[in-house]
């Protein structure tokens, strides 16, 4: 499976059966493994990727058409992400051990001795992203968080970078084996049908996905439609609106326009956090400056042919919205900016503006502060929402409640692209930003997606799982 020469072959039914059966066996071994062991496996994967960086980057550049420097930064991030989750596994924090001793006088009825701890759900299926061939692909956050949690991972390769996926899979499998991880800790499958078959299989206990709304929704429906529905953690799409107050526009229109264009065009606009809509005061100069800057950028080679086609359709669709005016862009894959009047946005929910993956964005110029509020209320949920404001800015203050209701991360005087891998960074939001509003898909918190609580009642300490026992013994003795 993990030979790049086999890149084009879909996983066969027999191969899939063997993979799922081995993953199920590995689930038991991983459940019994120590967090420190799992940390060492993740670190081994990180070191192996770092070692093969040059060859990986060659394939990534060739297949994704992304900038080599950006991809190099992404490799660093991927290795750090593995370390970040290794630390979480090693520290035992993921176990969330909570011990309450027996209490004969507990209200209502005597309380037995209780120890609660998290345990892994079992084999996790991961559908990888096209736009982060390292950080959200074979050895990306879903892989790292699931292994940190103690779950075997079956990764479905993204068709956008098949050779890179195959080589990464080979590196991961070899590193895990050398580091002593149980057979079946990781497997790599290819093809839509095998992916769907795996998703329907009762041995798969949870699923992670990063991709489009249409694809993600179809897989979500399969996961929750099973006789035994499983948790499906998908990140599906986001407009990431940016609101500019009159005060901010007056103080720094040029700077805001430049920052917006840089964020829209970063990595060809192919980021889930790309600011897709800018809401700015009319005649502030921001629209014109952004249009000029974006029009000066070259057409982009997008990740895949499918994404190229969708981009062409998407920009057409934005241009066709009522009252829309194309202020930058000449068709094809040229960076595109479309101005849409507030009346069109307010006529229907969100004005029919849909995420357009690639270097396209919409600007809505508002006339007064009542209109900026109405636009905020008309937009649907996103991963992020941003305000550019000044100190003691009443317009900004009036937006805070609405924006924190519709997004999982709210940003002040910054841009949504560029995401820290850290505990306090929540990467998620109400549907369709993510299918589950309660967990994000970056950082230590994302490992909790693959865990569930178990309470041990009056349980003999010697029969507690080893790592739980180690954490309650001081209290139990």
């Amino acid at each position: 499976m993990n030979n790049p020469s086999l890149v084009s072959a879909d996983t066969t039914a027999d191969e899939l059966e063997a993979i799922l059966s081995t993953a199920q066996e590995a689930a038991r071994a991983l459940r019994d493994s120590a967090g420190g062991e799992r940390a060492s496996w993740l670190r081994a994967v990180g070191a192996a990727i770092d070692e093969e960086r040059a060859e990986l980057l060659d394939l990534a550049v060739a297949e994704s058409h992304l900038d080599r420097t950006a991809l190099d930064g992404e490799v660093k991030r991927t290795v750090f992400q593995l370390e970040h989750l290794a630390q979480a596994a090693e520290s035992g924090e993921l176990l969330r051990v909570l011990a309450e001793p027996a209490d004969a006088d507990y209200p209502v009825a005597a309380r037995p001795d209780l120890v609660q701890a998290m345990m892994p759900l079992g084999p996790v299926l991961v559908f990888t992203a096209s736009n982060f061939p390292f950080a959200f692909s074979v050895a990306g956050n879903d892989f790292a968080s699931a292994v940190a949690a103690g779950c075997p991972v079956v990764v479905k390769a993204n068709p956008g970078h098949p050779a890179l996926s195959a080589l990464t899979a080979e590196i991961v499998a070899t590193a895990l084996a050398k580091a002593g991880a149980p057979k079946g800790t990781f497997a790599h499958i290819q093809g839509v049908e095998p992916g769907v078959a795996a998703l329907r299989d009762t041995r798969i206990k949870a699923c992670g996905f990063t991709g489009s709304l249409a694809g993600g929704r179809a897989l979500f429906d399969i996961a929750v439609g099973r006789p035994d529905p499983i948790p499906f953690y998908g990140e599906l799409g986001s407009l990431n609106p940016v609101f500019v107050t009159p005060a901010a526009a007056a103080a720094r229109a040029e700077e805001i326009a430049a920052g917006f264009v840089a964020s829209v065009s970063f990595r060809g606009g192919q980021l889930c956090t790309k600011p897709g809509v800018l809401i700015a005061p009319e005649n502030s100069g921001i629209l014109d400056a952004a249009a000029t800057a974006l029009a000066g950028l070259e057409p982009v080679t997008l990740l895949t042919d499918r994404i190229t086609g969708a981009y062409t359709e998407g920009t057409k669709s934005l241009s066709g919205l009522p009252g829309a005016r194309v202020v930058a862009g000449s068709g094809g894959t040229s960076p595109t900016l479309v101005s849409i009047p507030p009346a069109s946005v307010l006529a229907t929910v969100g004005g029919g503006i849909e995420e357009c993956f690639g270097p396209a964005a919409v600007v809505i110029e508002y006339r007064d502060t009542a209109e900026i509020g109405a636009i905020a209320r008309s937009l649907g949920p996103s991963l992020t929402a941003t305000i550019h404001g000044e100190s003691a800015d009443a317009v900004a203050a009036s937006l805070v409640d609405q924006l924190s209701s519709l997004a999982g991360r709210v940003i002040w005087n910054g841009w949504p692209t560029g995401v820290s891998v850290t505990r306090a960074l929540h990467h998620g939001g109400p549907f369709p930003a993510t299918t589950s509003p309660t967990y994000g898909s970056i950082g230590v918190g994302s490992a909790q997606r693959w865990l569930r609580p178990v309470t041990y009642q009056n349980w003999p300490v010697e029969l507690l799982p080893r790592e739980v026992r180690a954490r309650v013994l001081p209290a139990a003795e």
Copy 2:
């Protein structure tokens, strides 16, 4: 709505529209409320229920046919539950505030200033349970946990106790109003159609359910089939197997049989934690003793006609399993014990044993330790799994891994009925025990079902939500 004289009328479409619209407005007010305020509302509800206890108990006895002493204990539990969640709201722990300062040297890229905190999802719809007319009904755990989290609650009354529901709703609404809770914090609806209409409405952001597998699954499918799927937290059914090792059977067969019968028949066997299957060594005397004890119990008046009909069908279905032998029970609603040979259980997954709500259970007598292991592996997920074992009991030790894989609470030498309202008690499990394996429906943890994280990036401290600000200010100054 909240007048007992209107008990039989379904909520009309106009009434529902007004209720949902008011709940949506209340969501904003609740989001801005202080945890201490919400605690005071919950305590006011508890005090009001306690004050009206006599009248409530009269209705509960009449409608549920449950024992008055048991119901009185349940009222105490309900009041304590409100206090338990009030304390969680008041302490601020539900906010899970996590602040990470800006760090220019953070790995890969500079980290901005980040503050993460939980915020309420919005209006929550609750489908109440028939078997706990207080603790899982109008003012039960789902209501208490949602209000503690800052979410308005729309409660769909259980048809099993309509007058009690209406009176409780009146008491809750009056207590909330007197305590200063925003209008729309709580509403009460009646009827299947209005319940389904509410579940489909975009203003409802999450749903709690306690009831049958069939009903819960139908509602789950609606919730996840919405254009904007919402979290559905259902508790649907559980067999709660109890495993008796040879050593435990040798040491205390009589005691185990008596404990089993008491647990099976408690509250007419109408508990989600009823031990539905006992796995004991053959010829240990446990089967005979349990059969004799159960046969000596009177037929039970079950909660509703529907449940009575399902019980008659369910006991027939158990009696019809291959090789089944009815060892106690004379049809109707008489307590029933059915012995099923291991071969039948191992022939298909779980042997086709389905939860039978009421005072019925199955005993499976195993011949050797290989068979007890095979039976454990054949059973599906449950809320609980229990081992009766002795110290240094190798058979017990061999079961631990399997049982903690299939249940959310594992019990040593006890019985699954009788559930503490406390932090370390997890009440949930893999589907169908609960629809979400990651959250339970009892205690402080259950409030996290109604919350989601939001990260504030480089956010001005003065624009943070009041209660979040109070918790980061020492660090921010």
